[in-house]
């Protein structure tokens, strides 16, 4: 890390450094783009993966923290930049370096009102056009009369804006049409059976062929990040259940790890094993439901019922221990809420006994089917470069031959001790995404097999102060959710409540990449691709 610091300092004398959990570079806005370009293109750095952009409001200034990772050298860095202009804050865009930055910057603009110069699409991402104020700013007026709940249709524009810097340093606002004059635009969603929730695509069609897709999010944007700022750390946990409700355990795990890292607490061994087992159980359940809903999207409804059988079995196991079928709220700071159910070991063994047969059955019914193969093979190919540029992690990224499993790249908890393979495929099409998930179920079962007989005795929760305060600072933690890398950023001002809690969901990039991989395909392929990416809308909208 010191090595990186020296090299950056040599090239950018204005940069200052901060040592947090990973190296942080502070850079003025003017050099931001140069620095980012160097970091991405220089062989020694090769930071090709933009993990997230955290918008920040430090009351005296507004700014962003960029988290970068190199997939080649697997080292991390963060860049911090800020502006003191609160009325008309502007930063330079990195949209030309990482394609996902277009959407991350739109999100920051939506929440903090920071305009990114050079971003081709500077619309709000989650809130409607007429929304007043920027909700995640500290001085945001929460008065519901300003932004009332209205049953009037929201205003919609066919134009987007981009801010361009002229050679003499002025910034000009330009209007850009989204669709061409004679495009046949079909609106798919937000209420549509195949969008997996309330996502909306405006789709320009040429007969059955898709020309362009404009994604609209925010139909289930619940403002979780803002809500967290007014809750104590243990209270923030329960929102993690309601983001990606299939990865409830994994997300809980991520936030707990981040808080534990900040507070210097270590969960007892037993708790760590339980957490990992729950993570893997929910991964199996989640992939089961994926197979079911994906096949249902393709028209094979019956598969859903077969896969839900296994899911119900897993939910039974979870229910016995956690007391709920979906929103478990089981992991807590320092360990888990309650000890395992006495039947747990027996039930998991019963599950492991039936799982291989079930997977075989799924393959028999669906994977080998000629129609299914024609529908999936070669449809929606995502190359490795694009997957990284769009930050498409999880099974979808691994199907494009990007080994992005956080359990392997940045192991946490007891994962380093476990023997399992990271499943990758080279095709990058819908079939690969489907097969990766089936193979991952087998790997999760393998992990469970290793752990089920070796659950150590001991406490299931560490001693945690009743009123938990984190020291001043900021932390970032990545975990592997069921759909990709889930990141949590916490900035603390030393109180019991987070100053800023940013959630970097894996599903946002999944939805953003839809336009890129569908263009030129048929409408039916949109359904296939959307299904195989398997995004969860409440997760991307938060």
């Amino acid at each position: 890390m010191a090595n990186l610091q020296e090299k950056i300092a040599a090239k950018f004398p204005q940069a200052t450094f901060e040592e947090a959990d990973i190296l942080q570079v502070n850079i003025p806005d003017a050099q931001l783009h140069d620095l980012a370009k160097t970091l991405r293109d220089d062989e020694d750095f090769a930071f090709d993966y933009l993990v997230t952009i955290v918008g920040m409001d430090w009351t005296d200034s507004l700014g962003c923290v960029y988290y970068l990772t190199s997939t080649r050298h697997s080292h991390h860095i963060s860049i911090k930049t800020s502006t003191t202009d609160r009325d008309n804050p502007m930063l330079h865009s990195l949209a030309d370096l990482w394609r996902i930055a277009v959407f991350y910057e739109r999100e920051v603009y939506d929440f903090f009102g920071i305009i990114f110069i050079g971003n081709p699409d500077m619309r709000r991402l989650f809130l409607s056009i007429d929304w007043k104020g920027y909700p995640l700013r500290k001085d945001y007026d929460m008065n519901p009369e300003l932004n009332p709940v209205s049953i009037e249709n929201e205003r919609q524009s066919d134009f987007t804006y981009t801010y361009v810097e002229t050679p003499d340093g002025k910034v000009e606002k330009k209007e850009v049409p989204i669709f061409k004059e004679d495009d046949f635009v079909v609106n798919i969603g937000p209420q549509h059976p195949a969008t997996h929730g309330v996502l909306r695509f405006r789709t320009a069609l040429d007969a059955e062929t898709i020309k362009k897709i404009d994604v609209y999010m925010g139909y289930i944007h619940r403002g979780v990040e803002k809500l967290c700022e007014n809750l104590t750390y243990p209270q923030t946990l329960h929102f993690m259940d309601r983001l990606d409700y299939f990865s409830a355990h994994n997300y809980h795990h991520g936030l707990c790890l981040c808080i534990e890292k900040a507070a210097g607490i270590e969960a007892p061994r037993r708790a760590q094993v339980i957490r990992v087992m729950m993570d893997e159980l929910s991964r199996i359940a989640s992939h089961c439901l994926f197979i079911g809903t994906f096949c249902m999207d393709l028209g094979a409804t019956t598969m859903l019922f077969y896969t839900l059988r296994v899911r119900e079995q897993i939910l039974d196991i979870m229910e016995k221990t956690c007391g709920a079928r979906m929103t478990f709220n089981y992991d807590c700071i320092g360990g888990v809420m309650a000890d395992l159910d006495p039947d747990f070991v027996k039930d998991v063994k019963a599950l492991l006994a039936v799982l291989p047969d079930n997977i075989k059955e799924y393959n028999k019914v669906f994977t080998g089917n000629i129609i299914a193969r024609n529908r999936m093979e070669g449809v929606g190919v995502l190359t490795r470069e694009d997957a990284i540029s769009y930050a498409v992690t999880g099974p979808s990224g691994r199907a494009s031959n990007w080994a992005c499993d956080v359990r392997k790249t940045d192991p946490y908890s007891i994962y380093p001790e476990l023997d399992f393979e990271e499943v990758t495929r080279t095709e990058g099409d819908s079939m690969a995404r489907f097969k990766v998930r089936i193979a991952e179920m087998e790997q999760s079962a393998k992990i469970l097999e290793q752990l089920i007989d070796n659950i150590p005795e001991g406490d299931y929760c560490a001693k945690v102060p009743k009123v938990l305060k984190l020291p001043v600072g900021h932390w970032f933690q990545l975990v592997e959710g069921c759909r990709g890398a889930f990141g949590v950023y916490i900035e603390s001002d030393g109180s019991t409540q987070p100053y800023r809690l940013k959630i970097a969901p894996p599903c946002l990039p999944l939805a953003c990449v839809v336009d890129h991989i569908t263009s030129g395909n048929k409408i039916a392929d949109l359904i296939t691709i959307g299904g195989s990416l398997d995004y969860i809308v409440p997760d991307m909208d938060r």
Partner: protein, 358 residues
């Protein structure tokens, strides 16, 4: 075998004795119409129940079992509800065509009922070109679907209608050719003629290889004609919400819903007629006792039983296979089914010429 024509002739003569000819004809027409409507409604209701139960069985569920014994009254409840459900009137649509479309669909399937061989002597019209008439009227249905999709002034319905247009026109060819193959084998287009020709052995057995090929193609094309999975693109739920009938509510939607099941019955009924002898019982040459026992089962039961058994296969398709994509659907028809069909027709002709059949 009991001939139903005895009863019908008797009624006909009776009426003609007591009243002028025009009145008798009118009464007969009305009576047949009412009977047809009743059979139509009952069959549709039965089919809805049947599909729901079969689908439940495939999905390890129970299916309807609360309304009436074994859930038998479930589809009646659905019918009562749908009859009095609001018909939403929409702005910015072609009101006349919008209202006309469901009737066109239902009339098309109803006309096809006229020539189906319900039983021995139980047939509404006896054409010498019955099977041709059947193919002709069943293609009126696509007109209704096209109108429904177009007049709704909705992009989803429009795409659904266009898909259905492309699909129906293509698969009509396959249906036509496989029917033609069997007509060539039977040597007649008249429906009773075709049934009579199978009195010794059903065509699927006597025509062996070409008949089996024709049957498979007919079944695939027939599934496509009824817009059922895996060919349910015009109403692909996960793509086009409800396809061409997205904007229809109440009984207008009910008509589409019923017609779908009725078309299923017609397609399997025609398959029964062409390949499994219509109402003709299973006869095996040489086994006279067996043939005689088979004759005791009423011909109506034979026909409807065969149709239901064949529908089971089509329902099985739907709940097993994923949906095709529109380009795959068309290439399946034009690149595979059509050439095979043409080849099969030649094969059948050769077989007839050289007398290679049983």
């Amino acid at each position: 075998m009991f001939k139903f024509s005895i009863i019908t002739d008797w009624i006909n003569n009776l009426l003609h004795e007591w009243m002028p000819g025009w009145l008798a004809t009118t009464i007969e027409c009305v009576a047949i119409g009412v009977g047809l409507l009743l059979a139509y409604a009952l069959l549709a209701l039965f089919y809805i129940y049947y599909e729901r139960k079969v689908c439940a069985a495939f999905q390890c569920r129970l299916g309807p079992n609360r309304v009436g014994p074994f859930g038998l009254l479930q589809s009646f409840a659905d019918m009562f509800k749908i009859l009095i459900k609001e018909l939403i009137s929409l702005n910015h649509i072609d009101k006349f065509l919008f209202a006309l479309a469901p009737y066109l669909v239902i009339i098309a399937s109803m006309l096809a009922f006229a020539v189906l061989p319900w039983g021995n002597g139980l047939q509404i019209i006896n054409f010498n070109i019955g099977i041709f008439f059947l193919i002709a009227v069943s293609s009126i249905g696509v007109l209704g679907i096209l109108l429904a999709g177009w007049s709704s002034n909705n992009k989803f319905t429009l795409i659904g209608a266009l898909r259905s247009g492309a699909q129906m026109v293509s698969y009509e060819l396959s249906i036509g050719l496989s029917v033609l193959t069997m007509v060539a084998f039977a040597g007649t287009m008249s429906v009773p003629g075709i049934v009579e020709a199978q009195s010794n052995l059903w065509f699927i057995f006597s025509g062996h290889i070409p008949a089996i090929i024709a049957f498979i193609i007919y079944l695939i094309a027939g599934t496509a004609e009824t817009n059922r999975g895996p060919f349910d693109l015009p109403e692909a739920e996960s793509e086009l919400t409800a396809g061409y009938h997205t904007e229809y509510s109440g009984i207008h939607f009910g008509f589409f819903y019923l017609a779908e099941y009725l078309n299923l019955f017609i397609v399997s009924g025609v398959a029964a007629l062409l390949f499994f002898g219509g109402w003709m019982p299973l006869h095996i040459p040489g086994f006279d006792t067996f043939n005689h026992i088979m004759d005791y089962i009423p011909s109506v039961v034979w026909f409807i039983g065969k149709a239901i058994a064949l529908s089971f296969i089509i329902i099985w398709f739907k709940w097993t296979f994923p949906r095709l994509r529109i380009d795959q659907l068309l290439s399946l028809e034009w690149k595979y089914l059509l050439p095979i069909n043409l080849f099969n027709l030649v094969l059948m002709t050769l077989m007839i010429v050289y007398g290679l059949h049983f």
